[in-house]
Symmetry: C2
Subunit: 147 residues, 2 copies
């Protein structure tokens, strides 16, 4: 990439961070009630399309979903691909940056297991995590890469 345009791009991208704190900066990207649910669906629930995300139990509304997908894409957590089945569909996929959120999602699961009542399905997932956390993470990464 050309230097000037790269600079311009980086310059334009900068969305005036509140601080240079890792927690604060992270929250500015995915610190809302919906973004991590999309990430969760892409990570563990085999949901890859706009329609898939709408089917999730939490019932995100269509405009919020569109806004979040754009936000996550702009921040390089997800990318849009052609769907192999149809040109009418859009395939969303986690980028490396998105995949790297697996350890965060894993720890949230472990925390929540201690303090919330969960479905048997979720409890089973967390049982797998507790059996061997590192293995669970590397398996998850592999399952996302080899698609």
């Amino acid at each position: 990439m050309h230097c000037a345009s790269e600079f311009a791009l980086n310059f334009m991208k900068a969305p005036k961070r509140r601080s240079q704190c890792p927690i604060s900066s992270s929250l500015e990207v995915w610190g809302d009630k919906w973004s991590l649910l999309i990430v969760r669906d892409l990570m563990f629930n085999k949901r890859f399309t706009y329609g898939d995300f709408l089917k999730s139990e939490e019932k995100i509304s269509t405009n919020i979903l569109a806004a979040r997908l754009l936000m996550l894409e702009k921040n390089d957590l997800i990318e849009k691909l052609e769907h192999p089945d149809s040109k009418a569909k859009v395939l969303y996929q986690l980028t490396q940056k998105g995949i790297d959120l697996i350890p965060v999602i894993v720890e949230i699961n472990l925390w929540a297991e201690k303090y919330f009542q969960l479905t048997e399905e979720k409890k089973f997932l967390i049982k797998e995590i507790k059996l061997n956390k590192e293995k669970f993470i590397s398996n998850s990464i592999n399952s996302l890469l080899k698609d």
Copy 2:
């Protein structure tokens, strides 16, 4: 506690969860742009009072801070104590449930380190984490308990 009132209390408390998903349930408690910053301050920045939280770099506004403190307290992540120095002050402290968020906060730090430019101070903290994650977590827990 009496059975009927315990039931009533539990019943009243239940804030209609969107789903029984660990991620969704967690986000309903602390999935906003501010809550984890308060937790961070209590955890690592030696900030324990309302005034302390206001001093943080991200500049939370007073009404939002009050609302978040109430929310975190209602959800048992923090508790209010008498301040040893003065009756005018309130000492906020993480509960066990709040302390249990350390691994989540740690993983957010590690993720952010990979994708954001951080201050030297924060980079130092993350270097400590990477040196020995388990040790860092147990040290952090101990430092919060023995106060």
